[in-house]
Protein backbone atom coordinates (compact mmCIF):
# COMPACT_ATOMS: atom_id res chain seq x y z
CA UNK A 1 0.00 0.00 0.00
CA UNK A 2 1.36 3.34 -0.98
CA UNK A 3 0.89 5.58 2.05
CA UNK A 4 2.61 8.58 0.50
CA UNK A 5 -0.44 9.53 -1.45
CA UNK A 6 -2.97 8.64 1.22
CA UNK A 7 -1.62 10.34 4.34
CA UNK A 8 -2.43 14.01 4.25
CA UNK A 9 -0.50 16.84 5.82
CA UNK A 10 -3.41 17.41 8.19
CA UNK A 11 -3.07 13.85 9.39
CA UNK A 12 0.69 14.17 9.82
CA UNK A 13 0.22 17.43 11.69
CA UNK A 14 -2.20 15.67 14.01
CA UNK A 15 0.42 13.02 14.66
CA UNK A 16 3.06 15.61 15.45
CA UNK A 17 0.62 17.38 17.77
CA UNK A 18 -0.44 14.19 19.53
CA UNK A 19 -4.02 14.49 18.37
CA UNK A 20 -4.50 11.03 16.93
CA UNK A 21 -6.10 8.04 18.53
CA UNK A 22 -3.87 5.03 18.98
CA UNK A 23 -5.09 3.07 15.91
CA UNK A 24 -4.55 6.03 13.59
CA UNK A 25 -1.15 6.69 15.10
CA UNK A 26 -0.14 3.09 14.70
CA UNK A 27 -1.24 3.16 11.09
CA UNK A 28 1.07 6.06 10.32
CA UNK A 29 3.93 4.62 12.31
CA UNK A 30 3.60 1.43 10.34
CA UNK A 31 3.61 3.36 7.08
CA UNK A 32 6.71 5.26 8.14
CA UNK A 33 8.75 2.10 8.31
CA UNK A 34 8.99 1.68 4.59
CA UNK A 35 8.50 5.20 3.36
CA UNK A 36 11.45 7.56 3.39
CA UNK A 37 9.46 10.41 1.83
CA UNK A 38 6.83 10.18 4.53
CA UNK A 39 9.52 10.20 7.22
CA UNK A 40 10.99 13.28 5.63
CA UNK A 41 7.64 15.06 5.73
CA UNK A 42 7.12 14.12 9.34
CA UNK A 43 10.65 15.12 10.19
CA UNK A 44 10.06 18.57 8.69
CA UNK A 45 6.86 19.08 10.64
CA UNK A 46 8.45 18.09 13.93
CA UNK A 47 11.39 20.33 13.15
CA UNK A 48 9.05 23.22 12.45
CA UNK A 49 7.22 22.74 15.71
CA UNK A 50 10.48 22.78 17.62
CA UNK A 51 11.68 25.86 15.77
CA UNK A 52 8.52 27.70 16.78
CA UNK A 53 8.93 26.64 20.40
CA UNK A 54 12.56 27.67 20.31
CA UNK A 55 11.67 31.08 18.91
CA UNK A 56 9.45 31.87 21.91
CA UNK A 57 11.16 30.47 24.99
CA UNK A 58 9.26 30.27 28.21
CA UNK A 59 10.50 33.14 30.37
CA UNK A 60 12.45 31.94 33.39
CA UNK A 61 10.66 31.73 36.67
CA UNK A 62 7.21 31.47 35.22
CA UNK A 63 4.87 29.14 36.98
CA UNK A 64 1.60 27.50 36.22
CA UNK A 65 2.76 25.77 33.10
CA UNK A 66 0.36 23.34 31.60
CA UNK A 67 2.93 20.61 31.59
CA UNK A 68 5.14 21.90 34.32
CA UNK A 69 8.87 22.05 34.40
CA UNK A 70 9.57 20.82 30.93
CA UNK A 71 8.94 23.98 29.04
CA UNK A 72 10.62 26.23 31.55
CA UNK A 73 13.85 24.87 30.18
CA UNK A 74 13.44 26.13 26.65
CA UNK A 75 15.53 27.08 24.92
CA UNK A 76 18.61 25.02 25.06
CA UNK A 77 21.57 26.36 23.20
CA UNK A 78 21.24 26.72 19.50
CA UNK A 79 23.48 23.75 18.96
CA UNK A 80 21.30 21.71 21.24
CA UNK A 81 18.30 22.88 19.33
CA UNK A 82 19.72 21.55 16.11
CA UNK A 83 20.73 18.38 17.80
CA UNK A 84 17.18 18.08 19.02
CA UNK A 85 15.95 18.64 15.53
CA UNK A 86 18.10 15.80 14.36
CA UNK A 87 16.87 13.56 17.08
CA UNK A 88 13.37 14.82 16.59
CA UNK A 89 13.65 14.25 12.91
CA UNK A 90 14.64 10.69 12.94
CA UNK A 91 13.61 9.58 16.35
CA UNK A 92 10.96 12.01 17.40
CA UNK A 93 8.17 10.08 15.86
CA UNK A 94 9.40 7.05 17.66
CA UNK A 95 9.64 8.86 20.92
CA UNK A 96 6.28 10.41 20.30
CA UNK A 97 4.38 7.52 21.76
CA UNK A 98 6.39 7.72 24.92
CA UNK A 99 5.28 11.25 25.60
CA UNK A 100 1.66 10.29 25.70
CA UNK A 101 0.24 8.67 28.78
CA UNK A 102 0.96 5.00 28.56
CA UNK A 103 0.83 2.51 31.31
CA UNK A 104 4.02 1.15 32.72
CA UNK A 105 2.72 -2.32 32.01
CA UNK A 106 2.41 -1.49 28.34
CA UNK A 107 5.91 -0.08 28.25
CA UNK A 108 7.33 -3.06 30.06
CA UNK A 109 5.56 -5.41 27.72
CA UNK A 110 6.80 -3.51 24.74
CA UNK A 111 10.38 -3.61 25.89
CA UNK A 112 10.18 -7.27 26.67
CA UNK A 113 8.67 -7.90 23.27
CA UNK A 114 11.54 -6.05 21.72
CA UNK A 115 14.07 -8.10 23.54
CA UNK A 116 12.37 -11.36 22.88
CA UNK A 117 12.22 -10.58 19.18
CA UNK A 118 15.95 -10.03 18.95
CA UNK A 119 16.99 -13.56 18.46
CA UNK A 120 20.03 -12.82 16.33
CA UNK A 121 21.90 -12.03 19.46
CA UNK A 122 24.50 -9.45 18.73
CA UNK A 123 25.38 -7.41 21.78
CA UNK A 124 22.66 -4.83 22.18
CA UNK A 125 23.25 -1.65 24.09
CA UNK A 126 20.70 0.91 25.06
CA UNK A 127 20.84 4.60 25.73
CA UNK A 128 17.91 5.74 27.86
CA UNK A 129 17.32 9.46 27.44
CA UNK A 130 15.66 11.28 30.32
CA UNK A 131 14.76 14.95 29.91
CA UNK A 132 11.84 15.33 32.27
CA UNK A 133 11.63 15.80 36.02
CA UNK A 134 8.25 14.13 36.24
CA UNK A 135 8.73 11.54 39.00
CA UNK A 136 6.42 9.08 37.28
CA UNK A 137 8.52 9.22 34.12
CA UNK A 138 11.71 8.93 36.13
CA UNK A 139 10.40 5.84 37.81
CA UNK A 140 9.41 4.46 34.44
CA UNK A 141 12.91 5.11 33.13
CA UNK A 142 14.39 3.14 35.99
CA UNK A 143 11.85 0.36 35.57
CA UNK A 144 12.72 0.07 31.90
CA UNK A 145 16.41 0.16 32.64
CA UNK A 146 16.09 -2.58 35.19
CA UNK A 147 13.98 -4.59 32.82
CA UNK A 148 16.60 -4.31 30.09
CA UNK A 149 19.37 -5.32 32.43
CA UNK A 150 17.59 -8.13 34.17
CA UNK A 151 15.82 -9.74 31.23
CA UNK A 152 18.87 -10.29 29.10
CA UNK A 153 19.41 -13.75 27.78
CA UNK A 154 22.07 -15.98 29.23
CA UNK A 155 25.51 -15.02 28.02
CA UNK A 156 24.28 -11.81 26.46
CA UNK A 157 26.17 -8.64 27.18
CA UNK A 158 23.88 -5.68 27.55
CA UNK A 159 24.98 -2.22 28.47
CA UNK A 160 22.53 0.47 29.46
CA UNK A 161 23.42 4.11 29.75
CA UNK A 162 21.02 6.61 31.26
CA UNK A 163 21.65 10.05 29.81
CA UNK A 164 19.95 12.89 31.65
CA UNK A 165 19.64 16.50 30.62
CA UNK A 166 17.39 19.50 31.23
CA UNK A 167 14.92 18.87 34.02
CA UNK A 168 15.77 15.18 33.73
CA UNK A 169 19.09 15.89 35.39
CA UNK A 170 17.22 15.81 38.70
CA UNK A 171 17.28 12.04 38.43
CA UNK A 172 21.05 12.07 38.90
CA UNK A 173 21.36 14.96 41.34
CA UNK A 174 22.30 14.34 44.94
CA UNK A 175 19.59 15.79 47.11
CA UNK A 176 17.19 16.25 44.21
CA UNK A 177 16.77 12.74 42.88
CA UNK A 178 13.66 11.04 44.19
CA UNK A 179 15.25 7.69 43.41
CA UNK A 180 18.83 7.99 44.66
CA UNK A 181 18.55 4.87 46.78
CA UNK A 182 17.14 2.79 43.97
CA UNK A 183 19.82 3.99 41.57
CA UNK A 184 22.49 3.02 44.07
CA UNK A 185 20.96 -0.44 44.31
CA UNK A 186 20.82 -0.78 40.54
CA UNK A 187 24.43 0.27 40.21
CA UNK A 188 25.57 -2.21 42.76
CA UNK A 189 23.55 -4.99 41.16
CA UNK A 190 24.37 -4.15 37.52
CA UNK A 191 27.93 -2.97 36.84
CA UNK A 192 26.98 -2.55 33.18
CA UNK A 193 24.72 0.39 34.03
CA UNK A 194 26.23 3.81 33.37
CA UNK A 195 24.91 7.22 34.35
CA UNK A 196 25.70 10.27 32.26
CA UNK A 197 24.83 13.83 33.20
CA UNK A 198 24.69 16.64 30.65
CA UNK A 199 27.48 19.15 31.15
CA UNK A 200 25.51 21.92 29.46
CA UNK A 201 22.65 21.52 31.89
CA UNK A 202 25.04 21.53 34.83
CA UNK A 203 26.69 24.71 33.60
CA UNK A 204 23.31 26.34 33.17
CA UNK A 205 22.23 25.40 36.68
CA UNK A 206 25.48 26.61 38.19
CA UNK A 207 25.16 29.85 36.31
CA UNK A 208 21.75 30.26 37.91
CA UNK A 209 23.32 29.76 41.32
CA UNK A 210 22.21 26.18 41.81
CA UNK A 211 24.64 23.90 43.57
CA UNK A 212 24.86 20.70 41.52
CA UNK A 213 26.12 17.54 43.12
CA UNK A 214 25.72 14.30 41.27
CA UNK A 215 25.02 10.81 42.54
CA UNK A 216 28.08 8.61 43.02
CA UNK A 217 29.63 7.18 39.84
CA UNK A 218 27.77 9.58 37.58
CA UNK A 219 29.90 10.74 34.69
CA UNK A 220 29.57 14.04 32.93
CA UNK A 221 29.30 14.33 29.17
CA UNK A 222 29.83 17.75 27.57
CA UNK A 223 26.44 17.49 25.91
CA UNK A 224 23.74 14.88 26.38
CA UNK A 225 22.58 15.17 22.83
CA UNK A 226 26.05 14.84 21.41
CA UNK A 227 26.55 11.81 23.58
CA UNK A 228 23.44 10.29 22.08
CA UNK A 229 23.76 11.38 18.49
CA UNK A 230 27.46 11.62 17.85
CA UNK A 231 28.51 8.69 19.95
CA UNK A 232 25.92 6.15 20.89
CA UNK A 233 23.79 6.13 17.77
CA UNK A 234 26.91 5.86 15.64
CA UNK A 235 27.92 2.92 17.77
CA UNK A 236 24.55 1.36 16.97
CA UNK A 237 23.12 1.70 20.43
CA UNK A 238 19.36 1.59 20.63
CA UNK A 239 17.81 4.89 21.63
CA UNK A 240 14.95 4.90 24.10
CA UNK A 241 13.32 8.10 25.20
CA UNK A 242 11.07 8.02 28.21
Amino acid sequence: MNHVSTISDEFLNALVDDQLAAPERDEILQALNGDAALRERLCELRGLKQLVQHAYPQPPGSAGLRDGFRRAWWPQSLAACFALLMVGGMAGWLAHGWRTPISEGQMMGALQALQHNDFDAKPVNYVVHVDTANPVRLKTALDETESLLSNKKAGEKVQVEIVANGPGLNLLREGASPYAQRIAELQSKYPNLALMACGQTIRKLKKAGVNVELLPHTKITPSALEQIISLRLKQHWVYIKV
Partner: protein, 187 residues
Protein backbone atom coordinates in the same frame (compact mmCIF):
# COMPACT_ATOMS: atom_id res chain seq x y z
CA UNK B 1 -20.30 25.76 40.64
CA UNK B 2 -18.09 28.54 39.35
CA UNK B 3 -14.36 29.05 39.47
CA UNK B 4 -14.48 30.74 42.85
CA UNK B 5 -16.04 27.61 44.28
CA UNK B 6 -13.26 25.57 42.77
CA UNK B 7 -10.71 27.86 44.25
CA UNK B 8 -12.16 27.64 47.74
CA UNK B 9 -14.20 30.80 47.24
CA UNK B 10 -11.06 32.79 47.68
CA UNK B 11 -10.50 35.68 45.27
CA UNK B 12 -6.91 35.89 46.42
CA UNK B 13 -6.31 32.34 45.24
CA UNK B 14 -7.85 33.18 41.89
CA UNK B 15 -5.64 36.25 41.55
CA UNK B 16 -2.59 34.15 42.34
CA UNK B 17 -3.55 31.58 39.79
CA UNK B 18 -4.08 34.26 37.18
CA UNK B 19 -0.72 35.76 38.01
CA UNK B 20 0.89 32.38 37.51
CA UNK B 21 -0.45 32.41 33.97
CA UNK B 22 0.91 35.85 33.18
CA UNK B 23 4.13 34.68 31.55
CA UNK B 24 2.38 32.11 29.42
CA UNK B 25 -0.12 34.66 28.24
CA UNK B 26 2.68 37.08 27.49
CA UNK B 27 4.58 34.54 25.44
CA UNK B 28 1.58 33.81 23.24
CA UNK B 29 0.61 37.48 23.02
CA UNK B 30 4.12 38.29 21.84
CA UNK B 31 3.89 35.64 19.17
CA UNK B 32 0.60 37.12 18.01
CA UNK B 33 1.47 40.79 17.92
CA UNK B 34 5.28 40.90 17.98
CA UNK B 35 5.29 43.96 20.20
CA UNK B 36 6.41 43.84 23.80
CA UNK B 37 4.40 46.78 25.08
CA UNK B 38 1.25 45.67 23.32
CA UNK B 39 1.74 42.15 24.65
CA UNK B 40 1.93 43.46 28.18
CA UNK B 41 -1.21 45.52 27.61
CA UNK B 42 -3.05 42.50 26.23
CA UNK B 43 -2.04 40.36 29.19
CA UNK B 44 -3.04 43.04 31.68
CA UNK B 45 -6.38 43.53 29.99
CA UNK B 46 -6.90 39.76 29.91
CA UNK B 47 -6.19 39.34 33.60
CA UNK B 48 -8.46 42.23 34.52
CA UNK B 49 -11.30 40.84 32.44
CA UNK B 50 -10.73 37.36 33.84
CA UNK B 51 -11.06 38.66 37.37
CA UNK B 52 -14.27 40.45 36.49
CA UNK B 53 -15.85 37.55 34.65
CA UNK B 54 -14.69 34.60 36.69
CA UNK B 55 -18.27 33.72 37.52
CA UNK B 56 -18.74 32.68 33.89
CA UNK B 57 -16.30 29.83 34.19
CA UNK B 58 -18.06 26.64 35.22
CA UNK B 59 -15.40 24.03 34.79
CA UNK B 60 -12.00 24.27 36.35
CA UNK B 61 -10.59 22.03 33.64
CA UNK B 62 -11.33 24.75 31.12
CA UNK B 63 -9.45 27.42 33.04
CA UNK B 64 -6.61 27.71 30.52
CA UNK B 65 -8.90 27.71 27.51
CA UNK B 66 -11.11 30.29 29.16
CA UNK B 67 -8.17 32.57 29.87
CA UNK B 68 -6.79 32.36 26.35
CA UNK B 69 -10.26 32.93 24.95
CA UNK B 70 -10.38 36.20 26.84
CA UNK B 71 -6.97 37.17 25.51
CA UNK B 72 -7.99 36.27 21.98
CA UNK B 73 -11.01 38.56 22.34
CA UNK B 74 -8.80 41.38 23.63
CA UNK B 75 -6.42 40.85 20.70
CA UNK B 76 -9.22 40.86 18.17
CA UNK B 77 -10.70 43.99 19.72
CA UNK B 78 -7.32 45.62 19.26
CA UNK B 79 -7.11 44.51 15.63
CA UNK B 80 -10.61 45.73 14.94
CA UNK B 81 -9.75 49.14 16.32
CA UNK B 82 -6.79 49.25 13.99
CA UNK B 83 -8.23 47.62 10.91
CA UNK B 84 -11.85 48.52 10.37
CA UNK B 85 -13.88 46.45 7.92
CA UNK B 86 -11.30 43.75 7.40
CA UNK B 87 -11.45 40.02 7.86
CA UNK B 88 -9.16 39.73 10.82
CA UNK B 89 -8.38 36.08 10.36
CA UNK B 90 -6.96 36.75 6.92
CA UNK B 91 -5.23 39.94 8.00
CA UNK B 92 -1.51 40.08 7.29
CA UNK B 93 -0.23 42.73 9.62
CA UNK B 94 3.46 41.91 9.62
CA UNK B 95 4.41 45.40 8.53
CA UNK B 96 3.36 46.75 11.90
CA UNK B 97 4.72 44.00 14.11
CA UNK B 98 8.13 42.76 14.89
CA UNK B 99 9.82 45.90 15.89
CA UNK B 100 13.07 45.21 17.70
CA UNK B 101 12.20 44.46 21.28
CA UNK B 102 14.35 43.98 24.34
CA UNK B 103 13.68 40.29 23.96
CA UNK B 104 15.13 40.41 20.46
CA UNK B 105 18.23 42.18 21.60
CA UNK B 106 18.56 40.02 24.64
CA UNK B 107 18.46 36.78 23.00
CA UNK B 108 18.32 35.87 20.15
CA UNK B 109 20.10 34.37 17.33
CA UNK B 110 19.35 35.20 13.75
CA UNK B 111 17.48 31.95 13.51
CA UNK B 112 15.10 32.91 16.26
CA UNK B 113 14.48 36.23 14.61
CA UNK B 114 13.91 34.55 11.27
CA UNK B 115 11.38 32.18 12.78
CA UNK B 116 9.60 35.01 14.55
CA UNK B 117 9.52 37.06 11.38
CA UNK B 118 8.14 34.12 9.42
CA UNK B 119 5.42 33.60 12.03
CA UNK B 120 4.61 37.30 11.97
CA UNK B 121 4.08 37.10 8.20
CA UNK B 122 1.37 34.48 8.59
CA UNK B 123 -2.22 35.66 8.43
CA UNK B 124 -3.57 36.27 11.93
CA UNK B 125 -5.85 33.24 11.91
CA UNK B 126 -3.03 30.86 11.02
CA UNK B 127 -0.66 32.53 13.45
CA UNK B 128 -3.09 32.14 16.33
CA UNK B 129 -3.73 28.48 15.66
CA UNK B 130 -0.06 27.68 15.19
CA UNK B 131 1.09 29.35 18.38
CA UNK B 132 -1.70 27.99 20.55
CA UNK B 133 -0.88 24.48 19.34
CA UNK B 134 2.91 24.77 19.40
CA UNK B 135 3.56 27.05 22.38
CA UNK B 136 0.68 26.16 24.68
CA UNK B 137 0.12 22.67 23.33
CA UNK B 138 -3.62 23.05 23.38
CA UNK B 139 -5.56 20.27 21.70
CA UNK B 140 -7.23 21.06 18.41
CA UNK B 141 -10.59 20.98 20.17
CA UNK B 142 -9.40 23.46 22.78
CA UNK B 143 -8.04 25.78 20.08
CA UNK B 144 -11.37 25.53 18.26
CA UNK B 145 -13.09 26.59 21.48
CA UNK B 146 -10.71 29.45 22.16
CA UNK B 147 -10.91 30.89 18.66
CA UNK B 148 -14.57 29.94 18.18
CA UNK B 149 -13.95 28.14 14.90
CA UNK B 150 -14.60 24.54 13.81
CA UNK B 151 -11.93 21.91 14.48
CA UNK B 152 -11.60 21.38 10.73
CA UNK B 153 -10.69 25.04 10.35
CA UNK B 154 -8.09 24.65 13.07
CA UNK B 155 -6.54 21.79 11.14
CA UNK B 156 -6.59 23.53 7.79
CA UNK B 157 -5.17 26.77 9.19
CA UNK B 158 -2.47 24.87 10.98
CA UNK B 159 -1.65 22.99 7.82
CA UNK B 160 -1.47 26.15 5.72
CA UNK B 161 0.53 27.94 8.37
CA UNK B 162 3.10 25.19 8.63
CA UNK B 163 3.32 24.90 4.84
CA UNK B 164 4.08 28.61 4.65
CA UNK B 165 6.68 28.39 7.42
CA UNK B 166 8.25 25.39 5.78
CA UNK B 167 8.68 27.37 2.60
CA UNK B 168 10.38 30.20 4.43
CA UNK B 169 12.50 28.17 6.81
CA UNK B 170 13.37 25.23 4.64
CA UNK B 171 17.11 25.50 5.09
CA UNK B 172 16.71 25.43 8.85
CA UNK B 173 14.82 22.20 8.73
CA UNK B 174 16.29 18.92 9.87
CA UNK B 175 17.07 16.17 7.45
CA UNK B 176 16.77 12.53 8.11
CA UNK B 177 20.17 11.09 8.85
CA UNK B 178 21.55 7.76 7.88
CA UNK B 179 20.91 4.52 9.69
CA UNK B 180 17.55 5.23 11.24
CA UNK B 181 17.23 1.53 11.97
CA UNK B 182 19.24 1.87 15.14
CA UNK B 183 16.52 3.88 16.74
CA UNK B 184 13.99 1.36 17.73
CA UNK B 185 10.35 1.60 18.37
CA UNK B 186 9.59 -0.26 21.49
CA UNK B 187 5.88 -0.11 21.71
Amino acid sequence: MNILSFLNCNPRVLRERLEQCRQRLYRVALSWCGDRALSEDLVQETLAKALKSCSQLREQARFDSWLFTIMNNCWHDHLRRRHDHMDIDELEDYHCVHSVTPEDEHSQSQIVQRVRAAIARLPVGQREVLTLVDLEEFSYAEVAGILEIPVGTVMSRLCRGRQALKGELRELMPREVAEPARIRRVK
